[in-house]
Amino acid sequence: MPLINTRAEEISAAEPDVVLAPGGSLEEVLPRLAGLAVIAVEFPKFRDGRGFTTARALRERHFYKGDLRATGHFLPDQFAFLIACGFTSFETPAEHNPAQFAAALAKPHQPGQLLRRSLARALEAG
């Protein structure tokens, strides 16, 4: 499947060092977090939003700085949400090609707009 970055450009990048299954515990990866270049977080189905919290926990609670990759099934309509939670690369699902993700980014609408004005939240302001 094509891999894209946060601007929906196709990229080639390293295979993930770790694939986190949905619902899996972070305990195992936390001790070696600093040494991991790519962590993949799997979305079994786009409705399963655990990956959003996994990403936020890795970025904000555990200060993971490497590439965070979304894999599995997610929608172009969720692209901005994934980016806001800290994902940096995306293995696009078979059902939705990179062009659909690029189209989603072209919209002026971004998640958390109302909030962003009221609350200066680093990740969303970025």
Partner: protein, 732 residues
């Protein structure tokens, strides 16, 4: 277009229909008008034929005995407008069950395959077989729900026949374009907020388009439409619009009336969560309806789906004499924080927050996923008591308390901690066990609270901190109305010689914090009416009365009534006169006929029983005695999902299907206030027709047993269920 998808109807040129009906062309519109007329004619005939009653009972059973084997038809809902369609074999899909082809078991499988080719979901969704029986050459579905799908709601014989939406008709200008209403205490949008809503309507329009083109499957599209308030119900799409914390301006109410009149069939339904629902939307009209509402600063965002829903509060917020902290400010902050939240929009299940700021809990916060009680600490600063894990549905729970006095700056951080634990650990394997209330019970409250506290403690110091500056910025956008009027005694003297006025004032008003003012409740529960329904004309009347008497402001209560929050006491007699003239002066607030009822099986795809007709029968039976009986909350749900909040009714009625018959479980002793309790089932379910007898007998028993000044709930708490059980089960 590939495959055999066609739509056919009465005497229609079938071959040309399939393509045209899907294109939105002028021809398609003319055609759709034609078929609507035919459909309404059929519905009228069908109603006359069966007298509005279900096709069931002895006559039906004897018919069944004649059948060699079960007969089925294939049905679905049309993607474009959601109406029920019936498979007519080689002729494609028909709008009338009478035109469907019946299949015996031998032919059913092949027919299902024919009705459901690979591209079927581009045109028809939820394709399935339902059992039917043949009567006088006509086919009738066996299941009540399918009969209602075929015939329309059993409680709306007043719906005008004919076309209800001619897409070619130019619409008049929006009410918001020429509003001269006073802009009262509602949160003031600016262009930034309004653009956000406009964009959402545009984005949803694009999603509808992608769904039609097959870029989104129905499975993918469904959560996206739900997050914009769009459900597929029995007869059409339903659009649920949020009324954030129950506050509306007169202009907004007129805009809702406009949508009811021009996109729907002339009415809307106010719900138990401070939302309004339109029942007859066409999917392709929804983006336009949302765009129209955006111009009046209203939206359907997150009124459904597994996300944080509309935050609800006390309908007298900002007006009530007993208010300690005005909860609207914090409810608006929560709305802004939760709207499109990047982390919490694909939760295990829906998530409901309620906040109250009066000593008395008028928002049922203890039966919400997060409940917040705002009060003031010793220094006078607002603080929050935080509850979580309350809820109704099939496993009702009263919430557990997490914090006693959370300071304002911590509000959103703490909610984030709760939601983070829930999003990570809430069950996703079983939708009936996916709410936070189940997680808390499965983990044990102590362990859950510890995890929330750990998560909260690990947050960076400034993360999601609600600073005083931010609170003030939002507060500045709630204009505080001026209350210049004094009580000059007009009301007092009017009360002396007008008993009807006196009774209405006693029952339908609530004390205001300004001595010259009072809040007036407009009952949407006329005896024999449909709880929470209001016609477009009624909405306009209420909007005009709000302009005239209530600083242009209206409230929607969680018991499905409307409120004029700021009425000068001197004006109350004049307001009452106007309400009487409009037929909106029902004086039953808090009484037995002020029944909460969900839409039930007349509209809802989940319901197992019809709650509206039962509410009507109970109200008719008990109306003569309602003032004698006094305060009594009767709540009716048409299924276990408990939208009618039956668990927290003093008397709760839950409709269940028992071998094809609608019966009701009776619970007693529920309460939604600060003494929140889940009602107890008192015995076997009662047949629907016997429920009014049962409630009447219950009331007779109460009137005999009560002590002076005792409400039913107090008598129940004093004596328990026993004396009432006997009364109920003696009736059948």
């Amino acid at each position: 277009m590939r495959g055999g998808i066609k739509f056919s109807a009465f005497r229609a040129p079938v071959e040309s229909v399939g393509a045209a009906a899907l294109t939105g062309s002028k021809f398609a519109q003319d055609f759709s008008i034609q078929i609507r007329c035919a459909r309404n004619l059929f519905l009228a005939k069908a109603r006359a034929a069966v007298g509005g009653e279900f096709f069931t009972g002895a006559a039906f059973m004897s018919k069944r005995a004649d059948l060699d084997m079960a007969l089925h038809v294939i049905t679905g809902n049309r993607l474009a407008d959601g109406i029920s369609v019936w498979f007519a074999g080689p002729k494609g899909w028909a709008e009338l069950v009478g035109q469907a082809v019946g299949y015996d078991e031998a032919g059913l499988e092949a027919a299902l395959a024919q009705a459901n080719p690979a591209d079927a979901e581009l045109h028809v969704v939820d394709i399935r077989a339902v059992e039917v029986t043949r009567e006088g050459g006509m086919l009738f579905p066996v299941a009540h729900r399918e009969q209602i799908r075929a015939r329309g709601p059993s409680v709306r014989a007043d719906l005008p026949a004919g076309v209800w939406r001619d897409g070619a008709e130019p619409l008049p200008p929006l009410p918001s374009a020429s509003s001269s209403s006073p802009f009262a205490g509602i949160y003031r949008y600016d262009e930034y907020d309004r653009d956000f809503l406009r964009q959402r309507a545009t984005v949803f329009g694009e999603q509808v388009e992608r769904r039609r083109k097959g870029e989104l499957t129905e499975d993918e599209f469904k959560p996206l439409r739900l997050m914009n308030g769009v459900y597929l119900q029995l007869h059409a799409y339903m659009l649920r619009i949020a009324i954030p914390y129950g506050v509306l301006s007169a202009t907004q109410l007129r805009q809702l009336a406009y949508v009811a009149r021009h996109y729907d069939r002339g009415y809307g339904h106010f719900t138990t969560r401070q939302n309004i629902q339109f029942n007859w939307l066409r999917l392709e009209d929804v983006p336009d309806a949302l765009a129209a509402l955006a111009e009046a600063d209203i939206h359907g965002i997150q009124t459904s789906g597994n996300c944080i829903r509309n935050t609800t509060t006390d309908e007298f917020a900002g007006a009530a004499a007993d208010e300690i902290v005005d909860p609207r400010l914090y409810a608006e902050i929560i709305r802004q924080w939760s709207t499109d939240h990047p982390e919490f929009t694909y939760l295990p299940r829906k998530f409901k927050i309620a906040i109250v700021g009066a000593g008395h809990d008028r928002a049922a916060v203890r039966v919400h996923d997060i409940g917040i009680e705002a009060y003031r600490d010793a220094a006078g600063a607002p603080v929050f008591r935080i509850f979580a894990g309350g809820g109704l549905g099939r496993t009702p729970y009263v919430a557990v308390q997490l914090r006693e006095d959370l300071p304002v700056p911590e509000l959103l951080r703490y909610c984030e901690a709760i939601l983070r634990v829930y999003n990570a650990l809430g069950r996703r394997d079983n939708m009936y066990k996916a709410r936070i209330k189940i997680l808390i019970r499965e983990m044990k409250p102590e362990a859950f609270i510890k995890m929330v506290e750990d998560e909260y403690a690990s947050m960076a110091a400034g993360y999601c901190l609600l600073t005083d500056e931010m609170v003030q910025a939002v507060a500045a956008r709630f204009p505080v109305p001026e209350f210049p009027r004094q009580d000059t005694g007009v009301l007092k003297s009017a009360l002396l010689d007008d008993r009807a006025l006196a009774r209405w004032v006693k029952q339908n008003t609530h004390p205001h914090k300004q001595p010259g003012y009072i809040s007036a409740v407009i009952s949407l529960k006329p005896v024999g009416g449909i709880a929470g329904d209001a016609s477009a004309d009624e909405m306009d009347v209420v909007a005009n009365l709000a302009d005239k008497y209530s600083l242009g402001e209206v409230r929607v209560s969680h018991v499905q009534n409307l409120v004029l929050p700021h009425v000068a006491k001197d004006d109350l007699p004049a307001l009452f006169k106007d309400l009487v003239q409009a037929g909106l002066a029902t004086d039953n607030i808090g009484l037995v006929t002020d029944i909460i009822a969900c839409p039930g099986m007349d509209y809802c795809a989940l319901a197992t029983a019809r709650s509206i007709p039962l509410a009507q029968r109970i109200a008719e039976r008990l109306a003569p005695k309602q003032h004698e009986i006094g305060t009594l909350h009767v709540n009716i749900s048409g299924c276990i999902n408990a939208c009618g909040h039956h668990h927290v009714g003093h008397i709760g009625l839950l409709g269940v299907d028992k071998n094809g018959e609608e019966v009701y479980q009776i619970t007693l002793g529920g309460a939604a206030d600060e003494k929140a309790a889940i009602g107890k089932i008192i015995g076997p379910a009662v047949p629907t027709a016997k429920v009014p007898d049962a409630i009447e007998a219950l009331m007779e028993a109460y009137l005999k047993l009560r002590e002076t000044g005792e409400r039913f709930i107090d008598t129940y708490r004093r004596l328990g269920a026993e004396p009432f059980k006997g009364a109920i089960y003696a009736t059948h």
